[in-house]
Point group: C2
DNA sequence: CGTCGTTTGTGAACGGATGCACAAAGTCGC
DNA sequence: GCGACTTTGTGCATCCGTTCACAAACGACG
């Protein structure tokens, strides 16, 4: 019940967005990768980069990279390449990272703590507004620079800090309830780590990260590979009558 | 408008080995979702399910579900639906989950521990062969039912237990080195949690799970929403061009 | 100032995925 | 046994994303 790819009907609602940003979803998903590659280049002192190098660093094809960047505007210099700092700025801007987004993390188990300690989190564009848990044994405990607050404070935190993004790192059993509370409190973007499909009203965006799904996809390919290595087709169900 | 986001993600690396066995990649990515929904139905005692219900439970459109399942074979009964247990078996089989895959987890920080404790891990189709770390303070520590082993044992573990899948939950700085060692030891499927693009030879399958990328994608949509709510184009760079 | 080499930005072809709509195939009631 | 009803499986049109290939744009250099 959760997924990695598409969720309910990512299709075409008739009441379409007047202006959907103009940036294709697939491009948006790659911009953060480019941004990270650009940061790495900047830290190495590189000031200018060609689409070819940047594409290699980001693990994509150069034509794709250029087309992606062209959706933000025309920020390259022909015959030269892109100015690293300028491109960092433009990509950050397109992604909405010029402001710092407060994020509330619900669930202070291993996953929640991993999130809270995650370096690239607070550093670039995000700030942890609160780390919540309902377990009294965890409340009050220090995680990095944070103190775990009680889950009851969810609504107060969201309201007072104007939180728009929530991360759900609770067990599956409580995830939907947490999600409902986040939505009711006004959160419109949710990152779900719990292994289930969340139900949300229109206008709320959910992305999920599902470890077991990724593993299963890997298993599929591993199986495919090992069957091929054996030499025979190893007749999966597909071949049967 | 759509309430949830599509999450496009297929192959990171252009050198994508997989000869798909007739099953489209997009379908493979959804099969685990169906499988989870089926397990949930089975536990509730449901023996038969129509594509419509299963699709709803999995958060997809019923036509897509039927087309996906049709790639595995013709396992439905017209006028009735699908037998839950039988479909569980067929999907598991297609994904290669009829065997138990040994997985080695490198990195016993919060993320590695979260993985090790993750319930749906060992339960269905996967078994943690080892949890490795190079930090002496962690080696020997008990995590759930496991004991953290030293990273030096990577090659031995992979060889002795025939590990085909590795999960990298180390800091970014050591991820590529760990990856190289995994590949050299014979691992051909890698799940990468470190925030960098791994370089691997052809024939190795890498999937990435990147928390900050997901957050940044959410930020993009949150920004778009808030800009739209303010009124009109809040003058992002997108509008020019 | 003009030519040359380099790199961007993009038009166009292509391929894969999605959703609709419907015929085929089955069950159920009588 | 038969007709009505339900649900699957799929052909088809459409949309989105990827890739190719090339003209336009730019710096370098004499």
């Amino acid at each position: 019940m959760s997924s990695t790819l598409a969720q309910p009907d990512a299709g075409d609602q008739p009441g379409d967005r007047s202006w959907d940003g103009g940036i294709p979803e697939a491009t948006v998903a790659r911009l953060p990768v480019y941004l990270r590659a650009l940061y790495a280049l900047a830290e190495r002192g590189v000031t200018t980069v060609a689409s070819d190098e940047l594409a290699t660093a980001a693990g994509v094809n150069s034509a794709k990279l250029r087309k992606d960047l062209s959706h933000l505007g025309s920020y390259g210099i022909r015959g030269v390449g892109y100015d690293v700092d300028y491109l960092v700025y433009q990509v950050s801007r397109a992604l909405g990272l010029t402001q710092s987004w407060p994020v509330v993390i619900v669930g202070a188990g291993n996953l929640g703590r991993a999130l809270a300690n995650y370096g690239g989190f607070a550093s670039r564009g995000f700030r942890i507004a609160a780390l919540l848990d309902s377990d009294p044994a965890l409340v009050g405990r220090k995680i990095g620079r944070l103190v775990v607050s009680h889950a009851d404070e969810l609504e107060a935190v969201v309201a007072s800090q104007n939180v728009a993004i929530g991360a759900i790192a609770t067990p599956a059993a409580s995830a939907q309830a947490v999600c409902d509370r986040l939505v009711a409190a006004g959160v419109t973007s949710i990152l779900n780590f719990a292994p289930l499909v969340l139900t949300v009203p229109d206008g709320v965006d959910v992305r999920k990260v599902d470890l077991s799904i990724e593993l299963q996809i890997l298993a599929f390919h591993a199986q495919r590979r090992s069957a091929a290595r054996v030499g025979q087709l190893a007749g999966p169900a597909v071949a049967e009558a």
